[in-house]
């Protein structure tokens, strides 16, 4: 697989095949990053199309100061955020979650389903959802996430920790309510 910068240079020289290679290299990663953020496959596909359409238009002005993948992630996260803002997607506020009350005796892995995971992700604020997706889906390091989001590594660590605490809290609540039925 050719290096991103080589492909970008070839695209700038007029080779559409180079852009095709970039798209095929990254589109699966991007759609899987966007999907847990927006919670709907069709929306994720539309947003990913829009992301690569924007990239096609802006690639000429890309100056290799940052990694291409970081730039691509950033455009994707912004697009997902804009989409959710337009949709007025509702998230629970941080104040609604009592971190001290997280049960440590339950094992939530037994009750997780795809729908439940997505429902839980939808309930946490966007900035926390973003870091947890970049960590768990894309397997990026704290440093890489910090570069994409332009925040400090300490903030990344803190957000991941809090995102996991929120998710665990939601899972445990679901588990308890299911047991009571």
């Amino acid at each position: 697989m050719e290096e991103d910068l080589t492909l970008i240079s070839r695209f700038k020289a007029g080779e559409m095949e180079a852009f095709e290679m970039l798209v095929k290299k990254y589109h699966n990663q991007i759609i899987n990053t966007v999907f847990p953020l927006v919670g709907n496959v069709h929306d994720a596909e539309d947003i990913t199309q829009e992301v690569f359409f924007k990239i096609y238009h802006r690639l000429d002005s890309f100056r290799a100061q940052a990694k291409f993948s970081s730039w691509l992630y950033r455009v994707s996260l912004n697009s997902a955020y804009d989409f959710l803002r337009k949709q007025k997607h509702k998230t629970v506020s941080l104040e609604n979650i009592d971190y001290a009350d997280i049960s440590d005796g339950k094992k939530p892995e037994n009750i997780f389903t795809k729908d439940l995971v997505q429902d839980a992700l939808n309930k946490i604020p966007f900035e926390f959802r973003t870091v947890i997706v970049l960590k768990e889906i894309d397997g990026l390091s704290y440093r890489e996430i910090a570069q994409i989001l332009k925040i400090s590594i300490g903030t990344v660590e803190s957000r991941i920790y809090r995102a996991r605490s929120m998710l665990k809290k939601i899972f445990v609540q679901k588990w308890v309510s299911r047991d009571e039925m």
Binding site: H27, N32, Q49, D104, E109, K114, V117
Partner: protein, 148 residues
Amino acid sequence: MKCKYSRLINRYFDNELPQEKKEFIESHIDNCGYCNGELKNLLAIKQNIYQNKIGTNDEFFWQTLKSRIDREKQTQAQPQRLVLEPSALIKKLIPVPILATILVVALLNLSQQYYNPIDEYIFDKTEQLLFEKPENQSTVDALLYQDQ
């Protein structure tokens, strides 16, 4: 009870700890029920988020994107048709500043040509009052002279 090292468990799980801390946490996990459970929870969260990944078709995605790019290129390549409606033609051919200048000149011209017989009458009569004494006074004139 929550363990004071629970936050370090997160960093350990993410492989973000330096070697010496990593070794410490590994030995701690073996002896701490809370941290052991916490590690399992982290693994469960990761597995469950990861299982939500969707499969996509590279070629279909590319073809859809390419069609959109091609459509846009075609639209840009089409020459713009000249609109033949008179108002649109005027807008295209005569720029706004020129149109505004023409309008101002036309208005000034009109105002000069405008004739008001009452103004002219009053002006003439004032001149007569100031510079000459009229011999034959009309009724209106007589009334005007009564004030003096």
